[in-house]
């Protein structure tokens, strides 16, 4: 029977998602789905372009020509992911110009890890391997999402991210097998970045998470964090790098990693826009955005004659 009310249409839509069907851009969708998907994808896009900044500060300072080139290309790829994701978000009904305007004016969010400074080349190695590694754990899970244009974007982004991961891993291997100072650069980065990395996966998922409900994401924060531990912690230990969490260890009885809950107040403070670099980065972005309104003007073209 054809659904007749909004509730019936929504229920039929939800049934399609539960059956594993994919949703395309032009299709009918409940407003709640559109809003959730837009907000989530917009935040993802914002995070890609804000994520370009901490690593970007090391492009001018890279220690060899090879690294200068590969780091430029890596940051370029992150901006490229932003480009792809903003297009997906835009087709859900909000212009990219509006999304950028909201971002630079602090009205929308981006991931916690991009609110922190990149203090040394050790941070570049950490971000390249472990922040990208954490992001890849998340993004691979999104390959099963319900919104098909987002899935297509992930199919393009994930192979690039796994390239970045190799790049980051290589940077780490050079540092840990280099001089004492180089090793210390990486260990110091791990010490500072570990808590933000734990925050990155988010607090344990709520019972009714709208994003899970609508299949916009498919796995809980906790299961993604556990996968991250299993993939990366043994590798860090193999390299003799300590992780600043005394409880962190595999628990054979539960078949899970034990770990110490981080300071969640810090997480909430940061994602609400009060991280160590939030104000500076947004102010710089806003300045470039505002002083280059003329580029948007010339790109928008003359209004069509009536």
């Amino acid at each position: 029977m054809e659904p007749v009310t909004y509730e019936e249409s929504s229920a039929a839509f939800k049934a399609r998602i539960d059956a594993g069907e994919k949703i395309e851009a032009g299709e009918w969708m409940p407003d709640e789905y559109r809003q959730s998907a837009l907000k989530f994808i917009e935040m993802h896009a914002n995070s890609e372009v804000m994520g370009a900044l901490p690593e970007g500060t090391w492009i001018p300072r890279a220690p060899t020509l090879k690294r200068k080139l590969s780091l430029t290309a890596k940051v370029q790829d992150e901006v490229g992911h932003g480009q792809i994701l903003y297009r997906v978000a835009e087709d859900l009904g909000k212009t990219r110009e509006q999304m950028f305007d909201d971002l630079v004016n602090g009205r929308t969010k981006f991931h916690n890890v991009f609110h922190y400074p990149a203090e040394s080349w050790g941070d570049v190695a950490y971000i390249g391997w472990l922040i990208d590694g954490a992001a890849l754990v998340n993004q691979k899970a999104l390959l099963d999402a319900s919104y098909m244009p987002y899935v297509r974007a992930m199919r393009r982004i994930c192979p690039e991210e796994s390239l970045h991961l190799r790049h980051g891993e290589e940077l780490v291997l050079e540092l840990v097998s280099g001089t004492k100072e180089q090793r210390a650069l990486f260990q110091d980065a791990v010490n500072r970045w570990w808590q933000p990395t734990m925050h990155f996966f988010g607090p344990p998922s709520k019972k009714k998470d709208m994003l899970l409900y609508w299949g916009i994401k498919t796995r809980t924060n906790e299961s993604l964090r556990q996968e991250f531990f299993s993939t990366y912690v043994p590798k860090l230990w193999d390299l003799g790098i300590t992780v600043p969490d005394d409880r962190l260890a595999w628990n054979e009885e539960t078949g899970e990693w034990d770990w110490a809950e981080p300071d969640w107040d810090e997480f909430w403070k940061v994602v609400r826009g009060d991280g160590p670099m939030t104000h500076i980065r947004l102010a710089q972005r806003k300045t470039v955005w505002d002083t280059h309104a003329w580029v948007r003007e010339v790109f928008a073209g003359m209004p069509e004659a009536a």
Partner: protein, 122 residues
């Protein structure tokens, strides 16, 4: 600002396939930009753009093709091939560090490195 659909060919004999979209003020700028937004990792040997909605119009084909897409001088750092030995190196370094007693021994999942953690909601 107009949206342009971007098309590419993986091999010279392929048909143009849709690969994504970009925003640009005119066709000249769209062709300049699409080359690097979608083909800088050597994703194709030919490319084209068409203003979204102009489905009956012909494609505007970019003048660069073949090896010119994705760089003629060494750009291997943009592709997996440049990092082919990294996994093996990681294992080698780990073995050396284990011998040197640098490795940290704490409880870890049975096959180290394999994602065998219990996934509570899967």
């Amino acid at each position: 600002m107009p949206v342009w659909d971007v098309f590419g060919k993986r091999k010279p004999d392929d048909e143009f396939q849709w690969v994504g979209g970009i925003k640009a003020p005119d066709v000249d700028m769209a062709l300049v930009l699409a080359r690097e937004t979608h083909f800088r990792h050597k994703e194709g040997v030919a490319y084209a753009v068409r203003r979204r909605g102009d489905t009956d119009a012909a494609l505007h084909v970019g003048k660069y093709g073949g090896d010119e897409l994705g760089g003629l001088t060494d750009r291997s750092y943009r592709r997996q091939e440049a990092y082919a030995g990294v996994g093996a190196r990681q294992k080698r370094v780990s073995r050396e560090f284990a011998r040197a007693g640098v490795r940290i021994d704490r409880s870890r999942p049975p096959a180290a490195g394999s994602p065998r953690a219990r996934v509570p909601d899967a």
